[in-house]
Amino acid sequence: MSVMKRMSMIFKSKANRALDRMEDPRETLDYSYQRQLEMLQKVRRGVADVATSRKRLELQIQQLEQQQNKLTDQGKKALQVGREDLAREALTRRAALDAQLADLRTQYQNLQGEEEKLTLASQRLQAKVDAFRTRKETIKATYTAAEAQTKINEAFSGISEEMGDVGLAIQRAEEKTETMKARAGAIDELLASGALEDFSGPRDDIQAELDRLGSTTGVDLELERMKAELGQAPTPKQLDAGSPTAQPQQAPQQQAAPRDGSWPQQPGGAQ
């Protein structure tokens, strides 16, 4: 009866030590009941903490997913206008996000499991605390102090085992959420510092380049059309069949475009 037996001995000795500290058995009952109520509070706080961490993760996952989709779209658009370098850049950035997301999703599942476990533990403890309260009142009303001792020991060892179990479950959940919080904090910082926003926020360099290309493509198409009208030979440059027929927007920036694929130092001149 090795591991199983030794574990139960540990619990029993803890319960006995707690009982030995009490002078009057009735005092034991009330004191223990107070401790149980405290433990219930603690486990409920534990559930709330885990839920908070889980929601925070959920939010981060959503944010990263949005960026992932955006980069995918940008990659497609870039390819449509024949800029493989831009598309490659977008996909490279997306790959970094993919790894981040996979990790977050795993953590999210862990937290969900933890939350479920603690919720159930809290329900079990609540049921036992209620049963203990009933038993406590019965013992107080029915038995003399001397007689009560055995009854108290019986009730006490069961509930104290539960308390030890729940206590450890809370500790383990806390350790897990602490680790999560640290990681979530790091991601929040990344999001805040713009390391991620950079290319998906308003000052998005890939998007700026695509917008510029969109407008120049529009201009190119317009030129082709005019040349055709005037009966001039079309320029050899062929656009992709599925190229966007971008209406020349209120061109955000009409700087001379670097045609060598170099990146604009300052994305987006006019906001």
Binding site: M4, K14, A18, S157, E161, R172
Partner: protein, 92 residues
């Protein structure tokens, strides 16, 4: 005979099932002694699965103490070692 799986609750088992559990329990112990994490996990999961299969869950409001107590399913070997070493891992 009442068995507790930590983090899951208590189950009632027939004493006849104890023989099978003891064998599995020995394997858990052997794995801890050998310091073999993978073997420990496999043995622990075997043991817990068997208890879950054979046992009948006790009602949540029962105040019965357990005769046997098993570590949580997701415990690492080191954690169980510390529990057995009675270094106060289980809170008072």
């Amino acid at each position: 005979m009442i068995v507790r799986i930590m983090g899951e609750g208590q189950l009632d088992l027939a004493s006849a099932d104890l023989t099978a559990l003891n064998k599995l329990d020995d394997q858990v112990e052997a794995a801890i002694e050998a310091g073999d994490e993978a073997r420990f996990r496999a043995a622990l999961h075997d043991l817990l699965d068997n208890v879950r299969q054979m046992g009948r869950p006790l009602p949540a409001d029962s105040l019965e103490p357990s005769e046997l107590i098993l570590p949580p399913a997701d415990s690492a070997m080191d954690e169980v070692r510390r529990m057995l070493g009675d270094e106060g891992l289980i809170p008072d």
